[in-house]
Symmetry: C2
Subunit: 144 residues, 2 copies
């Protein structure tokens, strides 16, 4: 468990606030490590990797924009900027669908699939090496 | 515990990646709730509240800039922008110290102390109401 042992003499609310403060630190640390390593080796941020991963795991590597926003945990404006950047780099393309011409879809290109496949081992390694204070690495490894 | 039960048939690394993806969603959700409620009632973001809180809990409500950056989990540039904004609003002031004139300190003003005291019950309520999927609210409440 990522949170520390209970702190004697604190109110419930202060314990929660301390847990939140600790989680912010651990989350930001892991996010920075992912940004740094994915950036250096694959020219991707942690959020860009998540978008590529959501598309790679979807049927035909394609999702509606609003579904992608929800599954990548990004606001509409942040997603729009991110998709524009990845489209410019040739990693994904905006499309429409024959069955639903009103909706905008986003699909991985071949270059996007390759970049995701290359970056995935890096992301997994960083999660293993730097994620133990906010992920349950023990349960994950006991399943092998 | 915030993470889901182990997922059968997945590799360790995929379990970790799923945990990370879920944590991102839960963290972003709680961060958005805090930004929304603290913004509406107290004109503060969640990060600004954390900075006020770190200062309120420090000796003489004052910290070195670099100590504040570490304890608020912000990069130097993000902290600098945030301090400029809070200083413009009269909630904190940059100072130097008689014993250490080379270091820049940041201190809460009286208005900053009042704003923190007003915003604190809102932050605690949001953590209680919206934090249960990434904080250990059960352990916190069993300590009362």
């Amino acid at each position: 468990m990522w949170y520390s042992a209970p702190m004697a003499g604190r109110t419930n609310d202060d314990v929660l606030a301390t847990q939140w403060h600790q989680l912010m630190g651990r989350y930001q640390h892991l996010m920075c490590e992912l940004d740094r390593e994915l950036g250096a080796a694959h020219e991707l941020t942690a959020s860009e990797f998540e978008v590529l991963q959501q598309l790679a795991q979807a049927d035909e590597c394609s999702l509606r924009m609003n579904t992608l926003g929800e599954s990548a945990h990004l606001s509409q404006s942040a997603l729009s900027r991110l998709v524009t950047r990845l489209e410019r780099d040739g990693l994904l393309a905006r499309t429409t669908c024959d069955h639903d011409r009103r909706s905008l879809f986003v699909a991985l290109t071949d270059a996007g699939r390759r970049r995701y496949a290359e970056a995935r081992p890096t992301q997994r390694r960083v999660l293993r090496e730097a994620g133990s204070d906010c992920l349950d690495t023990q349960t994950a490894s006991s399943q092998s």
